[in-house]
């Protein structure tokens, strides 16, 4: 219902102030990098609105600005100009000290190379964001971590160190970690880029299941076939949105 209501709202095209008209609202975002080699524009006036429950694939060539787009949404980077509104938060204005805890609660980040902390076991990696952001009571964290690992079919590997897990397993742990604080948004940067096709398929299936539960996923990918399978594909080229196609995908289960 909420999903439909928000989609309906998007169709009105209004978004006054920082109200949550869209879950993610990027307005005229420009990101320019200055270096000794000169100025490089990674994003050039990008406008993009994403609503709750969207599964968006961002595709484009290398250097097209895909990762920069994810970074400004996650508050990892700030736009040179323009606005980035996530929920009711103006991320581009968020003071530096507030960004990390906000990100921890609002956004789950999934990386291409999994980026699990090598000295922590799978379950400990999953519990880490809860510790950082003081989510759930300390007593609840382990149980929640185990449930998340069960969700990604890795409960039996909970006490293994990352080095004892395969790439696919590590990525699933990374997804469980991204879900730890129950964030509404998951940002995934080439999540299947380092996996074989079967494992990539499994991870993708997990993403679709998460979208079906109401999560919003923005996924950067090179894989055009994968992009076809998500609800919406945003194509970036030279820092600009060159195409924003809504794919006809079955509505989420229970989505009415």
């Amino acid at each position: 219902m909420v999903y439909r209501w928000l989609r309906g709202k998007r169709s009105t095209g209004t978004s006054g102030g920082h109200e949550a008209a869209h879950l993610i609202d990027i307005r005229q975002a420009v990101k320019r990098y200055e270096s000794a080699a000169g100025s490089f524009t990674a994003l050039n006036g990008v406008n993009l609105q994403i609503d709750p429950g969207d599964f968006v694939a961002v595709i484009g060539r290398s250097g097209s600005g895909k990762s920069t787009l994810l970074n400004i949404v996650a508050g990892i980077d700030r736009p040179t100009s323009g606005e980035v509104i996530v929920g009711d938060t103006a991320v581009h204005l968020l003071p530096e000290r507030h960004i990390a805890p906000w990100r921890g609660r609002t956004i789950g980040v999934i990386f291409q190379f999994f980026q699990l902390l090598p000295t922590l076991t799978a379950i400990e990696n999953v519990m880490l964001p809860m510790d950082f952001c003081h989510m759930f009571t300390p007593g609840e964290r382990r149980g929640r971590g185990m449930r998340l690992l069960e969700q990604v079919d890795l409960a039996e590997h909970a006490h293994k160190l990352p080095t004892a897990l395969s790439g696919g397993q590590q990525q699933r742990v990374a997804i469980a970690r991204a879900l730890a604080n129950d964030p509404p948004i998951l940002l995934a940067d080439e999540p299947t880029g380092n996996l074989d096709s079967r494992t990539a398929e499994a991870v993708f299936r997990l993403f679709t299941e998460l979208v079906d539960t109401g999560k919003t996923i923005v996924m950067v990918t090179h894989d055009a076939d994968l992009a076809d399978e998500v609800g919406r594909a945003v194509i970036l080229g030279d820092g600009e949105v060159v195409d924003d196609a809504v794919n006809h995908r079955p509505p989420p289960v229970g989505g009415g």
Binding site: S67, V109, T119, L128, D131, P138
Partner: protein, 800 residues
């Protein structure tokens, strides 16, 4: 034109300024410590030797009963005697306040323009002083509470007061520095001496033996002949001081002090090398791909090795630039301070060439030696392996026993803390070197505390076995009963004991005579002295003709054993004594230790054939603080004066203890400075390690921040890791401190106090080091931790 490969070296140095700074600083501390100690030693020994040779030191000084000029003339004619000179010396109370008196040692010199031995040199004012004038030794002026031109009030043995004008200053290198003895020295003419009421006679004889001054046997035989001749002329030799040839008395203390400090300084340099090993290993690990690339385009192992050794050489050179000027300045300051303390003329600032050479050698060689192994093994990597190298190897967690142990710690600990704890053990070789640096630094730190505690306890024992508060020396024998009775009238006096004193020399079985030592004769069964016995037993009332020797006497007569019968020559009488025991030597405020033998009062009286041997009164007071002891001393002085009893000196035990404490403090301050330097090297090493860890784990920090870790969390994670290393180093350091403390305490005891100290392992020092190392570790890891919070998440995650 710099070749590209050397450009790479310079840019590598410049690109990580923090790393370069830490390594350079760490090496600098070592060079600084070594340079300062070496520089101080060279300047000290040169200036001191030159200054000391300039006074024409005598072979021996004999303190005798009064004699006349004829003896001096005949000694000068004697075979084996190159020179002889006589003076008269007396100790008199000097008024330093309304009711305050201090001993002043006055020395009468016959001809100021013809001082032949142990020369006293003019420093300021007339030369010689006029009648009723005194020249004060420059280093002791402040003890007189007067300035040049002021009047000094002295009290004569008969109670009359006389005023002497301070006409100027002298420099007498041969006296125990006033800062140690607490006694000011004054120089007068014989006319002034006569005006004070003393006869025109001598009681001190300075003798220089002919021939090789370092030939101890020859010098001894000459001195024995001199002694015989003096005594044949009727002047009893009370004691004879034979200094080590060509060596300034204070050098006995300075030399071992410099050696101990030097060893610690080299240790700090050595530990600085550990950071070089860690840094170079980390650098090579980071540059494995670069090494592979260089090899793929034709570089040979030797060329790459030279490249990295060149980098280490630059570390050393930079460290030398920092350390040489600072160490020279500090050495100058230290030498100046020591010059003032032991009263010699310091020739001024200079950088001795051999010290410069030493600094350059150690500054370049130690880092190179440290880096050689990591570089040699690092550049051996094959091109294929180097180019295939992905990420950082050797850091895989989970394989070792420790890792598995740490993996079991789960559940109760929060994940950030778990992360810090496990991160601590990720780079084990680096951890070991860092721990070793911190642990050795800590061990020395605790050892210095132990030395301090041992010194304090030895001082406490000194107080414990010396149960008297005031000592009075008399100018002649007045009868024990009389002086004791007079003392008991003084308010605050609980007990008074008259002790006999004399001097003795051992007559060895081969007929030769040993050095003079003091004979102290308390009444049998005294409670005022309880020496610490090393062997045998203390004198009991039933011990007849028994003697207890202290360890200083044993140093000169090492063949003596408990139970032996020895022959002593006292006041021309030879008597046989049974050695009942060996006692620990008591602490002394001066460098000069002549040794003491303890006998019962009655036995001494019998030995010197005098029912009332020259005495020293020991007094116990109702209160034992310095002020009370001092007030009783003044009251005693007045009491004896009014009774016509002449005293030569009155000293309080508190004053002696304070003088000893002052010397101990100097020693512990120097040791503490070097220990602190070691602590700094440890902290720099930890800081370097943490910087490397953060640098290598930048991506992990990025991930942590990406999943919600705040600046504070990142900071805490890194600082806790540093503190973990610090805390881990503590038990190792405390364990290492056990043997180091014992060795250092024994060395300090043997070399500085002439006797082993009561060894105490300082638990408070160990606890203090724990607190200190936690703070130090937190501070040392704060900078790298802060650096970690500054890492941009985007940058650290972008280079996949």
């Amino acid at each position: 034109m710099i070749r590209p490969r050397w450009r790479k070296v310079l840019r590598d140095l410049w690109s990580n300024k923090t790393r370069t700074f830490l390594v350079v600083l760490s090496i600098s501390v070592g060079i600084f410590a070594v340079g300062t100690i070496a520089d101080t030693r060279v300047m000290l020994s040169r200036d001191l030797s030159a200054d000391y040779a300039g006074i024409r030191p005598s072979s021996a000084i004999l303190f005798t009963a009064p004699f006349d000029d004829g003896l001096v003339r005949s000694l000068r004619q004697m075979d084996g005697v190159r020179e002889a000179e006589a003076r008269f010396t007396v100790v008199l109370p000097l008024k330093t306040g309304p009711d305050e008196w201090r001993n002043l040692r006055l020395e009468a010199i016959d001809d100021y323009d013809d001082i032949r031995l142990d020369k006293v040199r003019p420093e300021m004012g007339p030369w010689p002083p006029s009648v009723r004038e005194v020249l004060v030794e420059r280093a002791s002026l402040q003890l007189t509470d007067a300035n040049v031109g002021d009047m000094l009030t002295i009290k004569l043995p008969d109670g009359r007061e006389r005023a002497l004008r301070v006409a100027g200053l002298t420099h007498d290198l041969n006296k125990v520095p006033a800062s140690f003895s607490g006694t000011p020295y004054g120089y007068i003419t014989f006319d002034t001496l006569e005006w004070l009421g003393y006869p025109r006679a001598f009681n001190v004889l300075h003798v220089l033996a002919d021939g090789d001054a370092t030939d101890e046997q020859h010098v001894r035989s000459v001195l024995e002949q001199v002694q015989r001749k003096v005594e044949q002329q009727g002047a009893t030799v009370r004691w004879m001081w034979v200094p080590e040839p060509d060596t300034f008395a204070a050098d006995d203390v300075l030399r071992p002090m410099i050696i101990v400090l030097g060893v610690l300084a080299f240790l700090s340099l050595f530990l600085g090398g550990f950071l070089v090993i860690n840094t170079v290993s980390a650098l090579l690990m980071q540059q494995v791909r670069q090494i592979g690339m260089m090899k793929s385009i034709g570089a040979r192992n030797g060329q790459i090795m030279r490249l990295y050794l060149g980098m280490v050489l630059v570390f050393g050179l930079l460290a030398l630039f920092i350390a040489i000027p600072i160490s020279s300045l500090v050495a100058y300051g230290v030498t100046r301070y020591l010059a003032g303390l032991i009263n010699f003329d310091f020739a001024g600032f200079r950088i001795p060439l051999q010290v410069l050479a030493l600094e350059i050698a150690v500054g370049l060689l130690v880092p190179l030696a440290a880096a050689l192994y990591p570089i040699a093994s690092g550049v051996r990597v094959t091109v294929r392996r180097a180019l295939d190298f992905y990420g950082i190897s050797g850091e895989q967690f989970g394989h070792s026993f420790v890792d598995r142990l740490l993996q079991r710690i789960r559940g109760r600990l929060p994940r950030p803390l778990l992360l810090s704890l496990r991160n601590t053990f990720r780079r084990k070789a680096r951890l070991v070197l860092t721990l070793a640096t911190l642990a050795l630094g800590g061990a020395v730190f605790i050892a210095v505390f132990s030395v301090r505690a041992s010194l304090i306890d030895t001082l406490r024992q000194f107080t414990a076995h010396v149960n008297y508060d005031v000592s009075v020396n008399f100018d002649g024998a007045y009868g024990a009963q009389l002086i004791e009775r007079k003392a008991m009238y003084v308010p605050g006096v609980v007990a008074a004991e008259s002790w006999g004193t004399s001097n003795a020399r051992r007559v060895r079985p081969d007929g030769s005579e040993g050095s003079s030592f003091e004979l102290t004769a308390p009444p049998a069964g005294t409670n005022m002295l309880q020496p610490m016995m090393v062997e045998g037993h203390w004198l009991g009332p039933d011990d007849k003709q028994a003697i207890v020797l202290d360890t200083d006497v044993l140093k000169n007569e090492p063949d003596i054993r408990v139970g032996d019968e020895i022959v002593l020559k006292t006041e021309r009488q030879e008597t046989t004594w049974r050695v009942a025991g060996i006692a620990q030597t008591t602490l002394s405020a001066t460098f000069i230790r002549i040794g003491t033998g303890y006998v019962n009062f009655a036995d001494l009286a019998h030995a010197i054939r005098s029912p009332e041997p020259n005495g020293r009164l020991r007094i116990e007071t109702t209160q034992h603080d310095a002020a009370f002891q001092s007030s009783v001393a003044t009251a005693l002085q007045d009491r004896y004066e009014s009774s016509g009893i002449r005293t030569t000196s009155i000293t309080t035990t508190s004053a002696t203890r304070e003088a000893i404490r002052y010397q101990f403090n100097i020693l512990t301050v120097f040791l503490s400075i070097v220990a602190t330097l070691l602590g700094i090297v440890g902290a720099l090493s930890l800081m370097g390690t943490m910087s490397m860890n953060v640098h290598e784990r930048a991506r992990e920090v990025g991930v942590m921040r990406a999943i919600g870790a705040s600046d504070g969390t990142v900071l805490k994670t890194v600082v806790v890791e540093g503190v973990c290393i610090g805390v881990l180093s503590w038990p190792v350091g405390a364990l290492l401190a056990l043997p180091i403390s014992e060795v250092l305490t024994t060395t300090v005891g043997d070399e500085f106090t002439g006797a082993p100290l009561t060894y105490i392992f300082s638990l408070s020092g160990a606890l203090f080091w724990l607190v200190f190392v936690v703070i130090l570790s937190a501070l040392a890891s704060f900078l790298p931790a802060w650096g970690a919070t500054r890492l941009s998440v985007r940058e650290v995650l972008s280079y996949e």
